[in-house]
């Protein structure tokens, strides 16, 4: 039949003159409808390509060239030379060691304190009003700009007149550490600052995790004879596990990329005691102006981030745990 054939062939041949516009718009609708998810996702996809993928590829390309920030058009191909230079430089390993200490201590401190506070504020031990007040006020550090945090803590940790040392002296420590002026204590200083800044994020994150735990499980534990600590250990923490994993991953990624607060507070000093990979990369790009080498560092930083995520997922037993 000719009608059947036209139905199967082109749009123009369909049905009669009256049916044609209807079936055309239907087809259009059908076409749009079946591709709707792709159409909806396209803007985000394009943004990801434009704002993330393209710069990432560009950075990788740049890492193979020698180029200075003042004249980015002047590029000389050097292959993997930057990577060789970086990986054979003992300084890089000092930076990596610093990064490991900074990230490790910050992440453990931040997630542990954030989770502890979240648990403390979630169970109504403190009373709802107080808990709400604390939760709201604990957001402040996270909402504060990195530079301001850096400056504030520079004052807080001032060896002579800083609040921290005033307090330590009040507690009877006659010669408290010089913090960011000291080779031994500077890293502790920036870690404390970073934990202070990041804890609210973990607090909020774990609070949302806690809210996913049914109240009856706590009651079951209570009636079952579990003390508060036993409940936290046997019920709360195991059930928070996926949230803790996700929190660890995110905080590790955030912390690996922290440089602004350190830049303001110590500039990586003294004697590079607080210089970390992200800061080194920043200095390479904007102080030393070596964009090619800085890009190579950025690519390495990205690599470490990927490795970290892989490590966590493995340590916590697979991606299913996290989602």
């Amino acid at each position: 039949m000719s009608d059947d054939q036209s139905y199967l062939s082109t749009l123009d041949d369909i049905a009669g003159p009256e049916g044609q516009p209807m079936s055309r718009s239907e087809r259009l609708y059908e076409a749009v409808d079946s591709r709707l998810p792709y159409i909806m996702i396209a803007p985000v996809f394009l943004m990801v390509i434009g704002l993330i993928l393209y710069p990432a590829v560009w950075a990788f390309k740049l890492s193979l060239y020698e180029t200075q920030i003042v004249n980015l058009d002047d590029q000389t191909f050097v292959g993997l030379q930057h990577y060789v230079d970086i990986l054979t430089d003992p300084f890089f390993y000092k930076i990596m060691k610093n990064s490991a200490v900074f990230v490790g201590a910050s992440v453990i401190g931040q997630v542990a304190i954030g989770t502890a506070l979240a648990i403390l504020l979630d169970r109504s031990w403190l009373g709802d009003r107080i808990a709400r007040f604390f939760r709201a006020s604990y957001i402040l550090p996270w909402a504060t700009t990195a530079v301001i945090v850096g400056y504030s803590w520079t004052f807080m940790l001032n060896p002579r007149v800083g609040l921290v040392n005033e307090f330590l002296r009040f507690l009877g420590w006659a010669n408290p550490p010089a913090w960011i002026n000291s080779l031994e204590w500077a890293m502790a200083g920036v870690v404390i600052m970073n934990i202070w800044r990041g804890t609210p994020f973990s607090l909020i994150f774990q609070t949302s995790g806690l809210q996913s735990i049914q109240e009856t499980l706590y009651e079951a534990a209570n009636v079952g004879g579990a003390s508060t600590l036993q409940t936290v250990r046997h019920v709360t923490l195991p059930l928070l596990r996926p949230f803790i994993l996700m929190n660890l991953i995110l905080v590790t990624l955030f912390t690996f990329n922290v440089f602004g607060m350190i830049l303001v507070m110590t500039g990586g000093g003294p004697l590079n005691a607080t210089n970390v990979l992200a800061l080194y990369m920043y200095e390479m790009a904007f102080d030393l102006g070596n964009f090619g080498k800085a890009s190579a560092l950025a690519v390495l930083l990205f690599g470490f981030n990927v490795l970290t995520v892989a490590f966590y997922l493995k340590a916590f037993g697979g991606i299913k745990q996290a989602v």
């Binding site: 200075q68 920030i69 000291s182 904007f286 102006g289």
Partner: protein, 462 residues
């Protein structure tokens, strides 16, 4: 530096320069002559006179060119300077002059950036193609900015501005690869500051500070009263180190700039000063000062009784901290940094230059602006109004220049002993030397060893 091509163009600027000078009440020729008589020989006078000829010949041509490039429209001249004593109002009269000269409506966008952020911000803007029109750039940064290929060159007007009148130490920085790329603005010196009251309290004479390092250690030990006040303190960095280095008779690099020399005996002697202050004499803070940004405030607030090396811009921070000039003079002493026994005193001259970016939309106006602000009379005005040391030798004897400069006599005395750093290789030297000196201060390395390592690293990069 001069070729015929540029000679043809230079009169354009010269013609306007005459106007500038006229407004200032001084003619161009008088200005040049003044410079020559102060600092130059007869040969240069001849050169300048010869240069005057083509200027008149091409006057009309230049006027035609001017209407082509700068007629109508508006232009905002963006000027970037470090956070300091120079302010927009000093430059507004020059902009007003330019407005009467050009059809274009010109306005000034004066921006201050803290010194610590300046280099980075400017480098980033240059890299991004968003450079300002004019910037005050530390002499030690000029080399890097020159590499961008975007700096405007002033070879063609070199004689007009009486180049040879500038301090010799500055000439290295403003000429890059035979290109004249910046005009010196002011210079500075580094010396010792002390709290007069602390001296009095310790039974020392606030008007006769220690002159040698051993006397200094002795005085600082008497002043040392931790944790309220440390006997002394200084920023451990290559720039500060330069003064003891020069005082010990050392230099950073060999004369031709091809090899480091700071690891030699005088350098070690200078680094030993840092070692002594922090580790042997125990007259300094428990931990060395490695970041400089808070140091002047800490000194002014009495954390250190003395600082053997700091720049002559301390008064700027003093005023920021609420001191009046009078109070600064009454409460603080400034003088030569101590030196080893039997040696001459020394100081180090730094300073800023005005550079312009050739990428500006109005190169002609910008160049004119540059010439006007580098004019001797404008230099005189800037020195007077900002209380900063001028860079023209011909201005040093002018009394009005010193009106607002604190510790006038002491600074004049210091200028006798001034030397400069190797400005064009400074970032390489500083990048390696500063951590080495800090390692000494933190007692991680002995001076000899630390300096040798830094020298090896510098060698490989020169």
């Amino acid at each position: 530096m001069r070729d015929s091509d540029r000679s043809v163009r230079s009169p354009v600027d010269r013609r306007r320069f005459i106007t500038t000078a006229g407004v200032a009440g001084v003619t161009l020729l008088a200005g040049c002559g003044g410079g020559d008589s102060d600092g130059g020989g007869g040969q240069e006078t001849t050169e300048a006179a010869a240069d005057a000829e083509p200027a008149d010949q091409t006057d009309t041509e230049a006027a035609g060119g001017q209407t082509d490039t700068a007629s109508g429209g508006t232009f905002t001249l963006e000027y970037v300077d470090v956070d300091g004593d120079r302010a927009a109002e000093h430059f507004q009269p020059v902009i007003d002059e330019l407005n009467s000269e050009y059809d274009t409506q010109i306005s000034l966008n004066f921006r201050e950036i803290p010194y610590d952020n300046m280099k980075q911000q400017l480098l980033t803007r240059v890299g991004a193609g968003d450079e300002p029109d004019v910037a005050a750039i530390d002499q030690i940064w000029l080399g890097e900015f020159y590499q961008s290929g975007k700096l405007m060159t002033f070879n063609d007007v070199q004689d007009q501005v009486n180049f040879d009148d500038y301090f010799a130490g500055f000439q290295d920085a403003i000429v890059q690869d035979d290109d004249f790329v910046a005009f010196p603005i002011t210079t500075d010196v580094r010396g010792m500051y002390w709290h007069k009251s602390a001296f009095e309290d310790a039974g020392l004479d606030p008007d006769s500070p220690p002159e040698t390092w051993s006397a200094f250690y002795e005085a600082a030990a008497q002043l040392h009263n931790p944790p309220e006040t440390y006997g002394t303190g200084l920023i451990v960095a290559a720039g500060i180190y330069s003064v003891p280095l020069f005082g010990a008779g050392g230099q950073f690099l060999s004369d031709d700039g091809s090899a480091p020399t700071f690891q030699e005996e005088p350098g070690v002697q200078a680094a030993t000063v840092i070692d002594d202050i922090h580790n042997n004499e125990e007259i300094g803070p428990p931990e060395p000062v490695t970041g400089g940004s808070g140091f002047p405030q800490e000194f002014l607030n009495g954390q250190y009784a003395t600082t053997p090396v700091y720049g002559s811009w301390m008064d700027f921070f003093g005023r920021n901290e609420g001191f009046s000039n009078e109070e600064l003079l009454n409460q603080f002493g400034f003088g030569l940094t101590p030196h080893p026994e039997g040696s001459e005193p020394a100081t180090m001259n730094g300073g800023f230059g005005w550079a312009a970016f050739g990428t500006t939309e109005q190169p002609e106006i910008v160049k004119d602006f540059m010439i006007r602000i580098s004019d001797k009379e404008f230099n005189r005005k800037i020195a007077r109004e900002t209380g900063r040391i001028p860079t023209r030798q011909s201005l040093l004897d002018a009394d009005e220049v010193w009106e607002n400069i604190l510790w006038e006599e002491e600074i004049k005395g210091m200028l006798e002993y001034g030397s400069t750093r190797p400005v064009n290789n400074w970032s390489v030297v500083s990048e390696e030397l500063t951590p080495a000196l800090q390692a000494v201060a933190f007692d991680r390395q002995e001076p000899q060893e630390a300096l040798q390592q830094a020298a090896d690293a510098v060698s490989s990069q020169l």
